[in-house]
Symmetry: C2
Subunit: 293 residues, 2 copies
């Protein structure tokens, strides 16, 4: 099948966009579209432009034997702020306050469009260059953790609250949840992580940090290192969290029965985290490299 | 900012692809790209071609006041078969069989790339034209249910196994899990579903169908109607399930300690479910309609 220029470009955008952080070789596209390398190379320059002009992320060229192009999702600061302000307005609706001071949020944090955006924001503000997995604990954080894992192109690992018989030998631990001050348990199958892994923790909510501290301890039991932590909402109090290095997208302040939420703009102070690890070679160089093999 | 033809087409593909089943008006694109309607109209014809040529789904034009274009994800039969055969090979790995005859599958069913594809296959083979929600029960089905909800552009509802204090008034029910023959409970906040909703149920595994039967009963308690059910894996035995109308993507047969899995090809007998509900108007007609308002 023959493709027109415009069709190839549309198709390449679709393929890259559906597969963030996955490297596609130039040969992949020359085969798929039955086109010369120089043609695909020109197409890719246009595709790069599209992503940059619309601030939808970066298309990066990687040189060498494992080289090719990949799409790195990125959200702009202005876009983050607009999205989070809108979410904060929704969260502030008084009808969301439940008895006990809890907030009804599941319609938001299970919404595919919202969590998809949260995933992209997490991937734009956490350095995952070295990471092997995204880890979360059931249940409410799963949708946003999955979308973060999708944006980072990493497998997702879900810590369970009870020991499941159907997942083989399991490592379990107890921790104190700041929420209830109760001793709770978490468990993960032995096979879930490879030795010496590096992981990113994603969760929906952090008050004192007890749950995430427990997750970090569990990771250490697996010989894994936590290299980044992102939570959707953190509370202003207690100021001292049990976890030191984390980002949160929204800050929640509770004063008696009055709540206020605002985007945690200090999270977005750095322009962009995952770019410095990539060297953006000239497309022609990549072509030359491939030709030499 | 001015965009070239190729850039506009790349951008439109990205926007539609990121937002399946969401209607975008032509004015949306004319504003974003500072271009005439006739120009955008031509761009959209190219975009339609891209999706059709690559069998990535359909771009459909909807006439009238709420009209515009939307992208309906669709997977081809050949693509489904290749993907599911590959998955079946992975599932058949003898090291996955755990004591008790369980299968270790969480590395597959939590994988963002795999569940994203499963979601698109579910959306291609379940009629969701009337549906208001995708519903699943925690935990293992959540990733694929979220991706199905994303493909269908519907909110996701997650049934919990225990009563959570933090989600307000909750309706709970007991059911008998075929898996363990134990009485278990499921619960859902009162606010989770609007009255008279129609829902699609997505779950990872079905043996006798007891759990899904329980979910259907719970939906009825909410005054909601189940209009479609999709499971990832169903077992060949028992042949009589407690649920009548469902699709499953993979069939699992267990004979003693020997397991065999194969794609459930009868699921894909119909070409495509969600097309007949759309009338594909001519783009020029849509333009005329918009002009008249």
């Amino acid at each position: 099948m023959k493709f027109k220029r415009t069709e190839r470009i549309g198709a390449i955008v679709k393929i890259l966009s559906d597969n963030p952080n996955k490297i596609f070789t130039l040969s992949h596209f020359t085969n798929q579209f039955n086109a010369a390398k120089s043609t695909i190379s020109e197409d890719l320059l246009v595709v790069k432009n599209v992503f940059e002009k619309l601030e939808l992320g970066k298309v990066i060229t990687i040189s060498g034997a494992a080289g090719g192009v990949k799409y790195i999702p990125k959200t702009s600061k202005a876009e983050n702020e607009e999205f989070l302000l809108d979410l904060c307005e929704k969260i502030s609706d008084p009808s969301r306050i439940l008895s006990g001071g809890f907030l009804y949020l599941i319609d938001l944090i299970y919404n595919p469009t919202i969590v998809s955006k949260i995933g992209k924001i997490m991937a734009s503000n956490i350095d995952y260059a070295e990471a092997d997995y995204v880890v979360t604990m059931e249940t409410k954080g799963i949708p946003m953790a999955l979308m973060t894992a999708k944006a980072m192109n990493l497998p997702l690992v879900i810590i369970r609250k009870d020991i499941k018989v159907s997942e083989g030998p399991t490592l379990s631990m107890t921790y104190v949840s700041g929420n209830t001050s109760k001793v709770e348990s978490m468990s993960l199958p032995r096979k879930a992580l490879k030795p010496d892994s590096k992981v990113i923790i994603i969760d929906d909510f952090m008050r004192g940090g007890g749950t995430i501290k427990g997750m970090i301890d569990l990771m250490n039991e697996f010989g894994a290192e936590v290299v980044g932590t992102g939570v959707f909402i953190s509370t202003t109090k207690p100021e001292e969290k049990m976890v030191k290095n984390y980002i949160s997208l929204i800050e929640l302040d509770v004063q008696g029965d009055k709540i206020s939420v605002k985007p945690n703009l200090k999270t977005f102070k750095d322009e962009y985290k995952n770019e410095e690890h990539e060297v953006d070679y000239d497309l022609e160089d990549v072509l030359d490299d491939e030709d030499e093999e």
